[in-house]
Symmetry: C2
Amino acid sequence: MANEIPYKIYLEENEMPKSWYNLRADMKTKPAPLLNPGTREPMTAEELEGVFCKELVKQELDNDTREIEIPADIRSFYKMYRPSPLVRAYCLEKKLGTPAKIYYKFEGNNTSGSHKLNSAIAQAYYAKQQGLKGVTTETGAGQWGTALSMACAYFELDCKVYMVKVSYEQKPFRREVMRTYGASVTPSPSEETEIGRKILKAHPGTTGSLGCAISEAVEKAVSTEGYRYVLGSVLNQVLLHQSVIGQECKIAMDKYGIKPDVIIGCAGGGSNLGGLIAPFMGQKLRGEADYQIIAVEPASCPSLTRGTYAYDFCDTGMVTPLAKMYTLGSNYIPAPNHAGGLRYHGMSSILSELYDEGFMEAKSYRQTEVFEAAELFARSEGILPAPESSHAIKGALDEALKCKETGEEKTILFGLTGTGYFDLVAYEQFNNKTMEDYVPTDEEIAESVKTLP
Amino acid sequence: MANEIPYKIYLEENEMPKSWYNLRADMKTKPAPLLNPGTREPMTAEELEGVFCKELVKQELDNDTREIEIPADIRSFYKMYRPSPLVRAYCLEKKLGTPAKIYYKFEGNNTSGSHKLNSAIAQAYYAKQQGLKGVTTETGAGQWGTALSMACAYFELDCKVYMVKVSYEQKPFRREVMRTYGASVTPSPSEETEIGRKILKAHPGTTGSLGCAISEAVEKAVSTEGYRYVLGSVLNQVLLHQSVIGQECKIAMDKYGIKPDVIIGCAGGGSNLGGLIAPFMGQKLRGEADYQIIAVEPASCPSLTRGTYAYDFCDTGMVTPLAKMYTLGSNYIPAPNHAGGLRYHGMSSILSELYDEGFMEAKSYRQTEVFEAAELFARSEGILPAPESSHAIKGALDEALKCKETGEEKTILFGLTGTGYFDLVAYEQFNNKTMEDYVPTDEEIAESVKTLP
């Protein structure tokens, strides 16, 4: 009985991590620095502090400190929804008839519905510490905006969210969650900013884009006394905060003597994958252990599997610094019928470097096969997964079915980043069999990367 | 440190209850039996078995067995989403500045979003054991239907849900969750049943009602080989299954030496409240301990606080057996602007009897004050609560604020039955300040109870 693995492993509060783990400290080749797009020189702390909070800039640029303490206030907030459970997928294993042992780290048990809250609360905390009045950000469907609203409500910080207009109008539910948490939510493009007014004048009927919303949020932050801009993925600081996922995971697995053979995560900007794999990748980089690590991305937005490793803008509007990453070009926009999130054109610099050096693999799946995996998972394990997370599910199913063929008893760990409760329009398409796949041609991708600066 | 109460108390798997607790065994006056509306004689097992599963009928009629073993398959399913956390509301206490200690048992961490799954899985299990092909039920907004769909998917049982047409059309999200779990969802009234066709002929444009959906589901069950009807609240069997909530709660509290002074739950049909209070009420009935127990209901549907204790139909369509309960009359329908759930005209016979004997209190709140409490809770504790659960929150806030005045350090326990992720139209009304309160006049209630049989 002592060795029996429970369905869900929850750490005790005193077992929860007290520091974030900075993977960069163990990388021999550090991720390439952000560049000033004008001068092509590395961005200085001073330049970055006009946009981001001071302490977050410090974290962004720190490639050396291995452990960064999690402030007590953030740890208190974490205790409201963490530790997240590490789940043994007994029912899924049985359904598949696989000898593989499947585990998933479930980050969806909080109102934001995803792992985004882990970094939102950290960013809100440092804004509060700096004495700021508030923060600005952009959001598409609203996952990040929701997380940030919750974090700002906790610290009584003002939160201005620019929400892509088409989502603001057609997906009002997350908008209302944000408002309930006290955030002001503005459909973008808006009359509130110079860039917004400019775009509205040029394209009066536009329904907006994430690129435009980023530009408005950045402009608002730098032009308003006491405000800074915050971002929910891609950046080094975000991966640092998300390391709490992997650390909890590793502590729980060590406690029960479990060692994963394969670790799988979905990858959009890289925040969840980077967080999940952090301590395992650290061991791998230090030569202490080996793991097969797989990033799963949508076939409609295949930055790792079909992108170019180069410096590019982080946004479609080309107002941000340049980051070196696997990219499809900052103008690349996945087909509108792509419902499954993970629509970002690039990938975290940290993960891009590790992938380039062969420390991890990547694969892509089509939208409909991802939703088939989601349905099977929901019916077996009870949880209705987010479309994003379902990419990792599909990856795990494939590995588990391989084990069924070979008879191998591999241990598979994947990240279940969130729930699909606000993605039911996509599920409806899937249920009605009207969901379509889209895979860009080589020509389309070649055309798109022509915009590389 | 040993005595420090964590933010969340999770039981270990081996601490989870192995039996449901049947509160009726400890009641000196047993709840009044269901009556055949034609003969006014108690319904026999044979009569009930035409509609309900055999084992569930046995549970419905069993007023004596104190502990009823939870079958292993149900316990396995419970392990996928239980134990649910008992949460110490440290952040809410701080926000209120109260010396009270507030705890809540959170049942929303599963895809059905509420406690309903505790009974759905039990009812699906017994249907499967009986060799049935499937079950039928009705659903309004979809909480119960979702839970039942998940349970049926697990046992690969067919699930036919009659969903009130207006919800089917205007609230498509829970409908799609049900379909993803493989349920067939039919807008009610439908052409599939005699009663449906009759109603459609008489009222071609009707958008349906819960009463009509119940009638269709019952007709379908009794007229289809291999099907039975299942219900998500009110019945004795449902309260029995829901006792798992209170039992987990009591085990967790005993483990940390916590004794609640006040226990608060929201009350619609009574399934959550009955489950939460079960073991505590048992102690009270046996004279082993005393607790103040408060049922909270909406002012727009005040069955305990303003209803009549009498035999009444369980449904608006007057096709079910008669139950003795606090009721507003089976024709009573809360005002359409009432968004907050808990719309049932009556109350579980068990709770009605206990209330009548003075073992618990009841109070009612208006819709807008309930949403104010929900907003404060969401901003303090992170979780966006269901409108139903927010009635209990409001009750707990009032008790905690009383303690702030008197300086008493009472321990308050309330049931947080679920999340509000599918109730954002109501939150939007609240955020836009267009939400209205409705309280029926004495005359309206007097008129409505005239329909008592």
